[in-house]
Amino acid sequence: MTPHLLRQVLEAKAARRPVAVVTDLATGAQRMVARADAVRDPLAGILDAAFRFDKSGVERTEQGEVFVTVHNPPLRLVITGAVLIAQALIPMAKAAGYDIWVVDPRGAFATGARFPDIQLHAEWPDEIIPQIGLDARTAFIALTHDPKIDDPALALALTSEVFYVGALGSRKTQASRVERLKARGLDESALARIHGPIGLSIGAVGAAEIAISIMAEMTKSLRLG
């Protein structure tokens, strides 16, 4: 790899532009292909699948063996609720490669001391979430238990391409949440996307174990759909 190519890849990653590097395994020759240009590439079919499934791999082509490395934008996790479960979840999500946003208009909760080294916004979700931009590499979870904060954010998440939507609360809480969101005009198929009660059923006790169950459920959605 040339330093120039490495710089191009790092620049694309920083700008959340999906790119792939194609390496001819016989000669070592390499080129970068932006996702936007993949459709015009001789390896269009291979590249499209690689981007779509976030899957690097060796491909046997007429020109010989090539290795396609996909550099999809980093995963993102957007949370409403600067609460204890968020504090427990953030280090795990970071270790799994997520960039983290926490949104909570309650200034007493959303403090830098409680949430260092993340994107923290002590603002209302409907002001800040459109700026973050929810995409297919983003997970959204609602943790405040407060409909004034969670509902508008859920409405935005459910009309976006996020790969996971989770909401904290019992079955009863979830049922009333669904009724409220229906009243906001969300349809059944959108509402069916909410994982609520949030997290895999592992008998979690306390914030750390609930965070593990959420992390596991998010990972399942990401990898298995």
Binding site: M1, R7, L25, G28
Partner: protein, 102 residues
């Protein structure tokens, strides 16, 4: 920081750098395709291409790549003739691309 970011940072410091990437796996391999290890001319490294089983050999190959500029594709597996010294205890097989950044 992922391996490519590390490679960029090390290059900016004037260090010689090679990158090893898992390009294919069969059976139970500890690190998925795309996993990377970045190595400098002194053998310092970040990242992983296995559970520690073959890193030593890969680092040596990476330093060779830094001096020769030649890329190389390495294969490891328990069925391999090199299994006596380096192999994968987990029973999987992996192929690794080793290349200098230059």
């Amino acid at each position: 920081m992922n391996a490519l970011d590390t490679a960029g940072a090390w290059l900016a410091e004037g260090r010689k750098v090679a990158i090893a990437t898992v390009i294919e796996t069969w059976g139970s391999a500890p690190q998925p395709v795309g996993s990377q290890l970045v190595v400098d001319g002194d053998g310092n490294f970040e990242g992983a291409v296995s559970g520690g089983c073959v890193e030593g050999d890969v680092i040596t190959a990476a330093q060779d790549a830094i001096s020769t500029g030649q890329h190389k594709v390495l294969s490891y597996g328990v069925a391999d003739e090199t299994a006596w010294h380096v192999g994968l205890a987990c029973g999987g097989k992996i192929r690794i691309l080793v290349e200098a950044v230059k």
